[in-house]
Symmetry: C2
Subunit: 492 residues, 2 copies
């Protein structure tokens, strides 16, 4: 703990960058655009993984693993997909180094070890996976294929930010193959629903479910469904996508099956993914000027206990009492840390655990020991109360639920109060400049208008909400007729 974080109101971007580093979540590495995910950050990601993995398996999916590399000829096969990612591809061209004859102890790429065909480091795995599915599918009995992969992918981004946009990131990518369009569409929306449930129930992050416009669609998909969240600075963040791939990859890789009726048909596909970008969303959605605010269900440490004591004897008496609480909390499945280090003062520890977003802090001093009490402080509201020790464990069980709910409600109210209906372009620009958030407006359905609005305001259509109600109106930019509102925002 050194100086304070930048304030969100003064430098939101600086606040985010500093918070990620100081809370020991991640840092930039020696490799341009690639991050190191530090243990504290990784342990949050592990909790996210576990929850998602369970939801995937409960809906019949299994994990598998496909190669990191995609031969260029495969990568090219689905042309739209290839075109969409070509500019961001890391390419392996050689498979050997040799000692530099002119520079002792140094290595150079061995020019004789040039690959016949370049290998693309996967930016996404549709190509290699559909090439594999081709061999797995002959009959309708081989379908559906419901596979997920936890993996690293590389997209060579020019401007990177920890978690939000990095050259390498971790993600999961589901890739499914189905006999019918209906099944594939069901899968696409089922996975969107799982993402939305995960965001809301685990991350305490309210999201809008919607479908992307053609401009914002995944390269190679017929439709891209998404969940969109709002950050505290009024910018939107795409938190997960589920793609209906139609028969595009089946055509590109010639994946056909024989139907029950004996007809040869192309397979229907979906793919869906969330990434370590969710870490960025989690941090930005809830945290404050003092540090992280973590929803209890994803917090690596849910409760920290700090002793306030004088001398070894004082510590010993407090520790005995605390040990009972620690054991009781552990029995309830609550993760707890007792920080009895003598190298740091209580005040330092308080600030440290605020920075790290530990949901509940307990403190016990000499007076508490005499009175049989303990101080309970919650991170989200910064409120404190003193309770009898006997009541503290049941209280904490309830408190963790309350904090989870409170964080979600707060984010929900913020999000809802930052969806502004706008009916002309002057208001559109004004709201965007002064308030930010989502703008709910009519749009004429053309790429041209969308491009123009983006050019003028940097706002894009985040999605056409699935629950958009039919409403006669006029496009906020062109005035052309429109049948429902879409959500615009500037976005991460």
């Amino acid at each position: 703990m050194s100086e304070a974080l930048p304030k969100r109101s003064e430098d939101y971007s600086g606040w985010y960058n500093e918070l990620v580093k100081r809370a020991d979540l991640a840092e930039n590495s020696e490799v341009r655009g690639c991050m190191v995910i530090k243990p504290y950050g990784y342990s949050i990601w592990e909790k996210m993984q576990q929850a998602l993995d369970k939801m995937f398996k409960e809906t019949g999916h299994t994990n598998a693993y496909f190669p990191l590399f995609v031969p260029k000829s495969l990568f090219e096969a689905e042309e739209k997909n290839a075109e969409g990612f070509a500019k961001e591809c890391a390419v392996v061209t050689h498979y050997r180094l040799k000692t530099d004859p002119n520079n002792k102890g140094k290595l150079i790429v061995d020019p004789e070890a040039k690959l016949e065909e370049e290998l693309i480091v996967r930016p996404t795995s549709e190509a290699i996976i559909w090439k594999t599915y081709k061999n797995w599918v002959q009959s309708y009995r081989d379908l559906p294929i419901l596979i997920n992969q936890w993996a690293n992918v590389v997209r060579w981004e020019m401007r990177t930010r920890l978690f939000l946009r990095t050259a390498e990131f971790l993600w999961q990518e589901g890739h499914t193959a189905h006999a019918t369009k209906e099944e594939a569409l069901f899968e696409t929306t089922q996975m969107l629903d799982i993402y939305a449930t995960f965001a809301e129930q685990y991350m305490a992050l309210p999201v809008v479910k919607g479908v992307k416009t053609e401009n914002e669609r995944f390269a190679g998909a017929d439709d891209t469904y998404c969940i969109e969240a709002l950050m505290q600075d009024g910018k939107a963040l795409q938190a997960g996508t589920s793609h209906f791939l139609g028969q595009n990859f089946a055509h590109a890789f010639d994946v056909k099956y024989q139907s029950k009726e004996g007809k040869l048909e192309h397979v229907w596909g979906t793919s869906w993914g969330v990434s370590t970008r969710l870490m960025g969303a989690l941090i930005m959605a809830h945290s404050d000027d003092d540090g992280l605010v973590l929803p209890p269900v994803l917090a690596p440490i849910q409760v920290v206990i700090v002793p306030i004591y004088k001398g070894d004897d004082g510590l010993k008496l407090i520790s005995e009492k605390v040990q009972q609480i620690v054991e009781e909390l552990k029995r309830k499945g609550i993760s707890v840390k007792y920080d009895n280090r003598d190298t740091h003062k209580p005040g330092w520890k308080f600030a440290e655990y605020e920075l790290k977003g530990v949901p509940v802090r307990l403190a016990m001093g000499q007076r508490d020991l005499e009175n049989g009490t303990i101080e309970v402080a919650r991170r989200d509201t910064k409120t404190k109360e003193t309770l009898p020790v006997a009541d503290v464990v049941p209280h904490i069980e309830q408190l963790l639920n309350d904090i989870q709910n409170n964080i979600f409600q707060k984010a929900l109210e913020f999000r809802n109060s930052n969806i502004t209906k706008v009916d002309n372009f002057e208001d559109f620009k004004k709201v965007l400049a002064e308030k930010g958030g989502f703008i709910s407006a009519h749009w004429d359905g053309t790429n041209k208008t969308e491009d123009k609005i983006k050019e003028l305001t940097k706002a894009t259509i985040r999605c056409i909400p699935l629950d958009a109600v039919a409403e006669v109106g006029n496009c906020v930019y062109s005035g052309a007729p429109s049948s429902k509102r879409v959500l615009f925002a500037q976005a991460y």
Copy 2:
């Protein structure tokens, strides 16, 4: 299920390759030397991961994630390590593709997007991690660092085999930093012990713990400890390694700490890893000519139930009875599959689950239904018995333990009966040619002798066992004096 597997006695290598593919564990991909780990194989790997991850965390380690790429200048820094891996490195030289002006719909590497410094796809992560640790360590208070990473690595092998040797593989790599040599040595052997415990208790795979000779040491380590296992064809397989890195990487990356006494000291390091190669060991150690034999604690399906029936009514009555057993087994935490598909005959199913190594198979037919019995077959011994339905669940709980123990004992007896003491080079060659297995022999301690023996027999020193007893003797090749026996073998 089509034709039978090759027999181990006739074509061990063909047996292994076919088994891996037919049991749906893995297959070769479109990328030279890279495999696809299929869902059934991956679910075994997941069970291995979970068990290991738990053991790592119980000993104070946390997971983190470091970049896939290592800039060439970092990779070079620890010279022995760099030299050891240089010939196997996949190298990224470009970061963009563009459309081929001469070939519509095709892509070429954009020559203008050449990286200033080449990036090595990590063959192991010491370089990038120690470069990071440099910034994390100032004082003794920052030590130890106890980090593990689950990741993919790439080593460009010329001759590859599914699981055993692939260009890309999955592994975990622990990287720790310590204030003292003693602590680092303790860590090295602690992790070796964890690997040995895991191999024996989970994989049912007996291993010899030992230390490598200089020839076989990890490039950049002062000492490499290992666990060595024996496969059914008499070849050894290195199943895990734990390296004492001394201060080599601390010197290469200038990682120093201020001691309690205020002195600036170099940090001591370890690294340790196991990989998807363990899958190969698991398959080869226990399986037979009919297919996989899996230890129950790692089996994705522990019990399969097959109904033998005539007509829908027959199936319905059996299913009702089976459903109770399924629920009872699940309550006990036993994974069970009821295969009531009407697309395959019972005999086909029996063969299929034998191929896939399901430890226990239950079958219920019309006669069983009338008698209140069920047939219980175990995969490891191929024995069958008929039991009253009421007894079956407690019986299975015990049976799974028995199978786990039996598989281990069988492998242990095989291994022990294939460690042959040899005292002259004629016998050495004879035993190696006729019997195989481990040869326990005296060695003069020189690289030269080790190289010569390898050249003449393809056998290498697998390890100097940690429990080797002091024994005066003469080198099996040179006749020079020796104080203990080492283990030779041909190896995977």
